[in-house]
């Protein structure tokens, strides 16, 4: 999206917006020069469209119909087929730990939310926004910078006390930060090889440039349990912060510095 000359609407303004969708909350933070209302409306409508298509909890969604057996998976619309192909690629990339199936049933939720946030951010960019941050239930895609000369600062929530932070990740240009952990609604991540809930980790945060990817990587590393930090360390291009169940914090791939598009981890 960057590099395109987007005519900026004269009605563009910085805006904050909170949208309830997919059972969680999406926070839009569009900084100067802002975006016009149509751009924000399109990004929000996109989230609801994704929910209507991919929700495993809706009987009338495409995914819901595949799960119910009323729609053969080979007959899904092309856009859905591409998402499922990407899920298969991520499955291979993560040694099988990331999966678009849960308990044998189609459930691409683990990929869809991060991807939806990333695309919502692209929609804002296409509408002329140069600096914004979209946070969907704790997974974040930032573009540009928070203020002239100041990178975005993403706090990482302490898995043992949500009112505290364990770290801060900074980045400008294009920064994505995803965290997987024992969610409020209970454990929803299982090791696909053993079908057991992973042990050893309380949360895994991964930073990079594109949320769909770092979200899948964070989910996979969490599913690996105690083996997660070693696996993350092999992916040196990604910054990660892992909290073990004993409270110990393991960091990897930290690129300290403020180069555009790179993430830097600082102690909170």
């Amino acid at each position: 999206m960057s590099g395109q000359a987007v005519p900026r609407s004269p009605s563009a303004v910085p805006v904050r917006h909170v949208e309830h969708c997919m059972g969680t909350v999406f926070s839009f933070d569009v900084r100067s020069p802002g975006v016009d209302r149509t751009g924000l409306t399109r990004a929000v409508a996109w989230l609801h469209e994704v929910d209507a298509t991919y929700s495993p909890f809706r009987a009338d969604s495409t995914v819901g119909r595949v799960r119910a057996g009323t729609l053969p998976v080979r007959h899904v619309p092309d856009a859905v087929a591409r998402v499922l192909e990407r899920g298969a690629e991520l499955n291979a990339l993560t040694d099988g730990y990331f999966s678009a199936y849960f308990d044998g049933e189609l459930d691409p939720s683990g990929y869809v939310k991060g991807w939806a946030i990333e695309v919502a951010s692209d929609i804002l960019a296409a509408a002329g926004s140069l600096n914004h941050c979209v946070n969907g239930g704790g997974d974040v895609q930032c573009v540009g910078e928070a203020a002239p000369g100041r990178p975005w600062r993403v706090g990482i929530s302490d898995p043992f006390d949500a009112s505290r932070l364990i770290d801060t990740i900074e980045g400008s240009g294009r920064l994505a930060v995803a965290t997987s952990g024992v969610a409020e609604r209970g454990s929803h991540i299982a090791d696909p090889h053993t079908r057991q809930a992973p042990v050893g980790l309380s949360s895994v945060t991964v930073a990079g440039s594109d949320l769909a990817l770092v979200d899948a990587v964070a989910t996979a590393a969490f599913a690996m349990g105690s083996a997660g930090p070693q696996w993350l360390a092999r992916h040196a291009s990604m910054t990660s912060v892992v909290t073990q169940t004993d409270g110990h914090i393991v960091r990897a791939g930290s690129a300290r510095g403020h180069a555009p598009g790179r993430a830097a981890v600082t102690r909170a």
Binding site: P14, V15, H17, V18, G23, D29, G137, V140, A162, V182
Partner: protein, 152 residues
């Protein structure tokens, strides 16, 4: 403890509704919105165009804003915040009508915690928070919700 969190939930929701500049409708915490788009006045969906008064002198006038009244299980709550520049400098309850003495006690305990969490989120100088996913109802207990509320 659970009751305190529930009360806190309602008060933070009041703070959010306050900052969305909607003052007519009492709001409660909401489930997912069924429809797409930006329905004006929809419960649980708050939009505020950023006013930008902070580009002037460093000595900002402190301005107080009154939130919507929120009816909770334990009473009616209305939050008042004081804003200086773009920072919240104080959070207080303008209305705190408890249904019984026990609720009064809970509400009183929630007030300082709401204040400290809101101010802590601001003083960390962070723009957003990454963490394990939260539900639509649990959002109001997160630091992110305080940041969204403070981001005016």
């Amino acid at each position: 403890m659970k009751r305190i969190l529930l009360t806190l939930t309602a008060t933070v929701a009041g703070l959010i509704s306050l900052l969305s500049f909607k003052t007519s409708q009492p709001q409660t915490t909401a489930g997912p919105l069924p429809s797409a788009g930006l329905p004006a006045g929809a419960t649980g969906s708050a939009t505020s165009s950023a006013t930008s008064p902070a580009t002037g002198s460093p000595n900002q006038h402190a301005t107080s804003y009154l939130g919507s009244a929120v009816t909770t299980t334990y009473g009616v709550v209305r939050v008042k915040i004081t804003v200086s520049g773009k920072r919240i400098t104080n959070v207080a309850f303008a209305t705190l009508t408890a249904f019984d003495p026990h609720s009064q006690q809970i509400n009183s305990a929630a007030a300082p915690r709401l204040l400290s969490e809101t101010l802590a989120a601001q003083s960390a100088h962070i723009d957003t928070v990454s963490g394990a996913s939260y539900t639509s109802a649990g959002y109001v207990k997160t630091l992110q919700s305080a940041l969204d509320a403070a981001g005016i």
